[in-house]
């Protein structure tokens, strides 16, 4: 790792729990405008985004999203069909080349316009798993059960949900969700409050290298380590109570001694599995934003974790923080980004 790169700005929508009548492009446009104004930058050395065609049910979500950027004259740009956190990774790699100094990264998702639970089924092995029709929550419940069987209690899950929702209520960008009530199971052992809410939203991050980062921010959040790892797809060959790939990525990214961690946990038990895999000490503040359990604009959720973790450093309130993103069923793919003042 030769070149110092920092998160110098972060912007996100005030996420909504229902369709607010905006298209994906309309969700994204104000965020791009805001981050351009915040940095004073109108052109970037590289631009990269993350989105998912299946949320709109149409090919090329990213094509019209490009209209928000003002790609004229033409820009150097790419896209991942993954969470925006991986777009950030691609941009970080690109900045290592040394010929460009700034990058714009964004992710967006309008989850309210379809049935996310069923859409995510299409991500599964199309021959052996998808035809069985397991939905996202049911698969998460399998993992939650494996986790509980390894010696944890349902109350541990409720505590995560309660803390996340309370934190979300204090976060103007997250949803206002009530304290967990005594509801039935969504899919046992998960209750509705253990599952991330349907959310529409978008987020953007600006990365800058070296002196350019110092010019753009009084408190740049330097990326000290960033790594991501994928593991086996089939749930049957994984120990679902643990996250091997998160542990591996955390090790490679140097995830030690952080004060704050923002984890891409879409279900209560995922936070607990990730805490263990990443090796977070008990005094680490986890998801002070409320995390995905308080706002989950799919394809921006992971990028928001890095943005939120960086914001602590931007505000001068922490020295070392961590942002995490996940992809695939039951935390199959994990990205860890360690930031430092």
């Amino acid at each position: 790792m030769s070149r110092d790169v920092a998160v110098v700005a972060f912007a996100q929508t005030k996420h909504t729990g229902e369709d607010a009548g905006l298209t994906e492009v309309e969700l994204l446009a104000p965020v791009i405008t805001e981050i351009k104004q915040a940095t004073g930058l109108n052109r970037f050395g590289f631009t990269c985004s993350g989105s998912l065609d299946y949320l709109a049910g149409a090919p090329f979500s990213f094509v019209s999203a490009l209209d928000t950027v003002g790609a004229w004259p033409p820009i150097s740009e790419s896209h991942v069909e993954m969470d925006g956190a991986w777009a950030l990774y691609e941009a970080w790699v690109r900045l290592q080349h040394g010929d460009v100094d700034t990058a714009l990264v964004y992710g967006f998702g309008k989850t309210s316009q379809g049935s996310l639970r069923e859409i995510m089924t299409l991500q599964l092995d199309p021959y052996y798993l998808a035809p069985l029709g397991p939905d996202q929550v049911s698969l998460a419940a399998l993992q939650a059960r494996a986790f509980l069987d390894a010696g944890h209690k349902e109350d541990d899950l409720r505590a995560v949900a309660a803390r996340s929702r309370a934190a979300g209520r204090a976060n103007p960008y997250a949803l206002d969700l009530p304290d967990p009530a005594d509801e039935g199971y969504e899919v046992a052992p998960l209750r509705p409050h253990d599952c991330a809410p349907i959310t529409d939203g978008a987020a953007a991050v600006v990365l800058a290298a070296g002196d350019r980062a110092r010019e753009l921010s009084g408190h740049p959040a330097w990326i000290r380590g960033i790594d991501h790892r994928i593991e086996a797809h089939s749930l049957g060959v994984r120990d679902l109570s643990r996250s091997e790939s998160a542990a591996l990525a955390a090790g490679k990214a140097g995830a030690r001694d952080v004060e704050v961690a923002e984890l891409h946990a879409q279900f209560s038990h995922e936070e607990l599995i990730l805490r263990e895999a990443i090796g977070l000490a008990d005094d680490v503040r986890v998801n002070p934003s409320g995390g995905p359990l308080a706002a989950n604009p799919v394809m921006a959720t992971g990028l928001i974790r890095i943005g939120e973790a960086a914001s602590w450093i931007h505000r001068g309130e922490a020295r070392r923080t961590l942002g995490h993103a996940a992809s695939g069923p039951c935390l199959q793919h994990n990205l860890v980004c360690v930031l430092e003042a």
């Binding site: 790609a71 991942v80 069909e81 790699v93 040394g98």
Partner: protein, 385 residues
């Protein structure tokens, strides 16, 4: 450009209408194993995997990297899925190269694929999202008006497209992986086929193919240890512009010109026709050869069709375009760009077989996508830059 990067392995599947003998995983693995074999490596030697394909709606498998991680030996490794419309195969190669150029990895496996027989691409391209314009009639319907505008602008005679259709299919007869291998292909044969989207006839358009292509990209150290000659990356560039706005030149898009200028600058090329030995350029409809000849600076504006007509772009011409038969002969959409990049590498490695351009030392790989708005290009050469 960062650290040196080289192609040390190339693998392709046979391109066919339907590869019912393999699953999607089997298809990508076939290309990957051939690339590894060329590089003298196994999956365990690979640091990271980058995968690309066109829209997930084409097969109905969403974010397929999750399912393909096992088949591509990615367990415990970083894996990235790229999607930039039709240019994706090229962009995927560039993202993989970027990992090596950044000094993050030494050996990266890059794979791109499409299994068009799993569904219907024209349908997948013709959805009606609310409040958005729609392409409605697939790619041909979208690009035909741009071709007509080109003809009107340059006064190109009607038969130029036919010449490209024949030339690329003649080249395909020398490429064992090519999908369309039509013995005795001729102008008469092309002209006798139905008009699909004026002026594009059936044999002037690309086929729908199943297929995958893969490369192993390596750092200088790793390239020095490769058993076969490497193709060194001399320049890489991507450019994008918005799809619709007043005043946009859709016939000769600025993003294509800028992308070419960037990649030539990095490679030290000022006269592409003379300084490149061949080019693998994304030509899904015959007329895009003369259009891209101009866009990529191989001739002046309005001169592209004359270059094609003169035979300069034929395998025995002074600047062969698409010696492999190109997209007109094989089109697994998501892989089509990567195939261009890989074929350019094969040429400068001297490993292109029967369609080898003799003595090729520098070649261009090109891909475009969306409404002719996304571009990915690289220049590769036999010598380390």
């Amino acid at each position: 450009m960062g650290n040196p990067c080289a192609v040390i392995g190339v693998g392709q599947t046979e391109y066919r209408t339907k590869r019912t003998d393999v699953s999607i995983a089997g298809l990508v693995r076939e290309a990957a194993l051939r690339a590894l074999d060329d590089a003298g490596l196994t999956f365990t030697d690979i640091d990271a995997v980058v995968i690309g394909k066109a829209p997930d709606l084409f097969e109905g498998v969403m974010m397929p990297e999750a399912y393909l991680a096992d088949a591509l030996g990615a367990r415990g490794k970083p894996m990235i899925r790229v999607h930039t419309a039709g240019s994706v195969g090229g962009s995927t190669a560039l993202v993989a190269a970027s990992l090596v150029q950044a000094g993050v990895h030494d050996r990266v496996l890059v794979v791109a694929w499409e299994k068009q027989s799993e569904s219907n691409a024209t349908w997948a391209l013709s959805t009606h999202p609310p409040l958005s314009p729609t392409i409605v009639v697939g790619a041909g319907g979208y690009f035909a008006p741009h071709i007509r505008a080109y003809m009107r602008r340059t006064g190109a005679p009607d038969h130029i497209g036919t010449l490209v259709a024949v030339k690329d299919r003649q080249n395909a007869l020398k490429n064992p992986y090519a999908h369309l291998r039509i013995p005795g292909i001729s102008r008469e044969m092309v002209e006798s086929t139905p008009m699909l989207w004026e002026p594009i006839r059936y044999l002037e358009t690309c086929p729908s193919s199943d297929g995958a292509a893969a490369m192993v990209l390596a750092s200088e150290d790793a390239a020095r240890r490769a058993p076969n000659p490497p193709a060194w990356v001399h320049g890489t560039a991507m450019r994008s512009e918005p799809i619709f706005f007043a005043g946009r030149d859709t016939v000769n898009p600025q993003a294509g010109k800028d992308c070419a200028a960037d990649v030539y600058r990095q490679a030290g090329i000022t006269d592409p026709r003379r300084e490149l030995d061949c080019a693998e350029v994304y030509v899904p409809f015959s007329w895009y050869e003369p259009m891209w000849l101009e866009n990529l600076g191989f001739c002046g504006e309005g001169e592209g069709w004359k270059l094609t007509e003169s035979g300069a772009t034929a395998l025995d011409g002074d600047i062969p375009w698409n010696p492999s038969g190109g997209v007109l002969s094989s089109n697994p959409i998501g892989a089509s760009g990567l195939i261009r990049f890989a074929e350019a590498a094969l040429q400068v490695r001297g490993l292109a077989g029967e369609h080898q351009v003799e003595g090729a030392r520098r070649a261009l790989g090109h891909a475009y996508g969306g409404g002719a708005q996304f571009y990915a290009m690289w220049v590769v050469g036999s010598d380390r830059p």
